[in-house]
């Protein structure tokens, strides 16, 4: 005898141009404009960082162009007492969370002091090792559950990371301990050169939630309203001890980093096609359709460029950290062994 013992399904959320959009406006009108402005600032940041890298002011930069709706929408849904766990491409998320632009530049310019102050925003510094940060998202969510707090944590991760063990362990632990965790996959279709079709045989990444007894859902990641809707829904569940895995479908319009050449592994045609779905373009069209586009927004691109340029200049004018800082913060209280070593290295550095 055989019988079905389990079946699951995954839903996808879209808003723009669907019946869900009927009860427009579903956030306050001014919020739409604010969101667009943030997206534009993030876009200009990306372009500026790219040019600074070409000028040799930044060693390596990971562009987020095309993923602004994912990052800004997800963080828009977050409350101040919630937490954010980034991966490494979340510059737009940092911007929406309120991290000062000059400090974000400072970190990309190789100075960790750019990450100082993030604790005021309940936001962790970047985690570069792909997928490993998901366990911190799980741990924070478990802690919230244990403390019976009413907040939640959102952790970013990418399509490639869903092959990592830590990703799966994080989902499993979250399910077991009713973690207040939302895992937000930006499926931008490529892990450097590896297309999602070769990364996994799963039809969706969201369905990986099913194996861990938690909710999974898919969202159009280039539709900022859909992202907000999905993330709000997920956070609501997470606050009640039901962790959620969101897969946001998006596309990396630029290279993986400034060290990458994506023409080696993907067609220009595909990139051009996705440019048609550029989240800024789509949101602008939406605002136009709903009569919210105005001259101020039209002029904001130049304004955003100015804001970003000023921040970049501030970062460029910052002094590099001094020798002493090499040894700072390794421990809370510097061990004698390290104090001695610091003195020895300092002598060498001064000669």
């Amino acid at each position: 005898m055989r019988e079905e013992v389990y079946s699951g399904s995954i839903e996808k959320i879209e808003v723009m141009g669907t019946e869900d959009d009927e009860d427009f406006p579903w956030i306050e009108e001014e919020e739409y404009r604010k969101l667009y402005r943030k997206m534009m600032i993030a876009r200009k940041f990306d372009e500026k960082a790219f040019s600074l890298q070409r000028r040799g002011e930044i060693s390596t930069y990971a562009p987020h162009k095309g993923q602004e709706a994912c990052q800004i929408g997800a963080i828009f849904a977050l409350e101040d007492d919630d937490w954010m766990v980034p991966s490494f491409r979340e510059t737009a998320a940092f911007i929406q969370r309120g991290a000062p632009l000059e400090k974000i530049f400072q970190r990309w310019m190789g100075d960790a002091n750019g990450q100082k102050g993030l604790s005021d925003l309940n936001t962790l510094p970047v985690a570069i090792p792909v997928g490993t940060q998901n366990l911190h998202t799980a741990g924070l969510g478990i802690a919230m559950s244990f403390e019976e707090d009413e907040n939640a944590v959102i952790g970013f991760t990418g399509d490639g990371s869903t092959s990592q063990g830590d990703f799966h362990e994080a989902l499993n632990f979250s399910g077991v301990y009713d973690a207040h965790s939302v895992f937000f996959i930006q499926n931008n279709k490529f892990a450097i050169s590896m297309p999602i079709e070769k990364q996994t045989n799963s039809q969706t990444l969201a369905q990986k939630a099913i194996a861990y007894g938690i909710d999974g859902l898919q969202v159009d990641g280039n539709d900022i309203l859909a992202v907000i809707k999905a993330t709000r829904e997920a956070l609501e569940k997470a606050r009640n001890g039901e962790p959620v895995l969101i897969e946001a479908l998006t596309y990396r319009l630029e290279d993986h980093t400034t060290s990458d050449d994506s023409t080696r592994y993907r067609d220009e045609e595909e990139v051009e096609e996705w440019k048609e779905h550029d989240p800024l373009k789509r949101f602008r069209e939406y605002l136009e359709e709903h009569g919210m586009w105005d001259e101020e927004l039209e002029a904001f691109e130049d304004e955003a460029k100015k804001i970003v340029d000023e921040a970049a200049n501030k970062a460029l004018e910052m002094d590099d950290p001094e020798f002493d800082e090499l040894f700072d913060y390794v421990y809370k209280d510097m061990p004698d062994l390290l104090k001695q070593e610091k003195e020895e290295f300092k002598k060498e550095a001064n000669n």
Partner: protein
């Protein structure tokens, strides 16, 4: 004062720290109802409830990584790696995240995490169950690596480790978990980064930790020399000063450890001794260690594990140099 063996001292330290600070939680594989496979957490779940002491899913990286997340939210987790040979699955989280969170955030965030693991060989256990990984963790930067050798040090150092606002890897010598009991003074404080002079002597300095300390003591009785035995207790950052002072006095030194020779922490100790005491040295530093082979299945372990006989030969070599 009560008498405890080493594993009982672990249990007492955990209990007293959990009592003192309700942010201290203990978890790991079989740590809850079962009290851990070595019973180190015995009774803690009954006493403090399932949210303070519990068995977690079977995933070492998951245990360490979630503990980092919980630390960032104000908890003070003490997690158990069932055997240190399985701790490598958590190595990445410990080395690249636990140890770096403070520096990465320029002091904004800290990870007051203690990772406990029974370590070491000589108990005829299965493959992967007898590893001595202290050198790996010592080379991770930003960690404290602690190995006690007595019930008193176990109790006092584990409490200190849990109280520390930085991550600690606390390796427990499982061969001597139940080897002997000792009067344990709960009020006694033992500082991290401070070596213990086990036995004073004039002729040679013998450095050993964990389950090698009793071997060192036995060996010292078999040579016609006055052996000074030093137990560093904190492997990293090690109290090299106490060791160097001793070698300046004795002029001779031997390191005895279970881990393989190349890249073992004995290599570091040996370098530090020659860097600091060359003018007092009468002989090159002797190392008695395991060979550079994987820990064997147990029919071969007697050849692998340093024992009294090899320690005595080592002492004789360094004394007769």
């Amino acid at each position: 004062m009560s008498k405890f063996n080493i594993v009982e001292a672990v249990n007492e330290a955990l209990r007293d720290e959990m009592e003192a600070d309700d942010k201290v939680i203990a978890y790991g594989e079989d740590v809850g109802e079962d009290g851990g496979v070595f019973r180190a957490t015995e009774g803690l779940q009954d006493e403090f409830g399932e949210k303070r002491c519990f068995s977690s899913p079977l995933a070492e990286s998951g245990i360490a990584g979630t503990a980092i997340g919980m630390s960032l939210y104000g908890f003070r987790p003490v997690v158990e790696m069932q055997f240190s040979g399985f701790s490598y699955l958590s190595f990445y989280q410990i080395k690249e995240h636990a140890s770096r969170m403070r520096i990465r955030s320029r002091g904004d965030y800290e990870v007051p995490l203690t990772v406990r693991a029974p370590y070491g060989g000589g108990i005829s256990a299965l493959e992967h169950h007898q590893e001595s990984p202290e050198a790996f963790f010592s080379h991770a930067q930003g960690l404290h690596v602690v190995i006690p050798s007595t019930p008193q040090d176990t109790y006092s150092l584990l409490r200190k480790s849990i109280q520390l606002d930085d991550p600690v890897v606390f390796l427990e010598p499982k061969k001597t978990y139940r080897a002997f009991k000792e009067e344990t003074d709960k009020e006694k404080e033992v500082e991290l980064e401070e070596a213990r002079i086990v036995k004073e002597g004039e002729d040679v300095t013998l450095i050993a930790w964990g389950a090698m300390v009793p071997v060192a003591e036995e060996a010292s009785e078999e040579v016609e020399a006055d052996v000074e035995i030093i137990d560093p207790r904190t492997i990293y950052p090690m109290d090299f000063e106490t060791i160097n002072e001793s070698v300046k006095k004795t002029g001779r030194a031997m390191v005895l450890h279970e881990a393989p020779k190349s890249g073992g922490f004995g290599a570091e100790i040996s370098s530090r001794i020659q860097e600091n005491t060359i003018l007092s040295m009468e002989a090159s530093v002797e190392r008695v260690t395991a060979p550079d082979v994987p820990y064997p299945l147990y029919t071969l372990e007697d050849y692998y594990m340093p024992d009294k006989k090899r320690a005595v030969k080592g002492l004789k070599r360094v004394l007769e140099f």
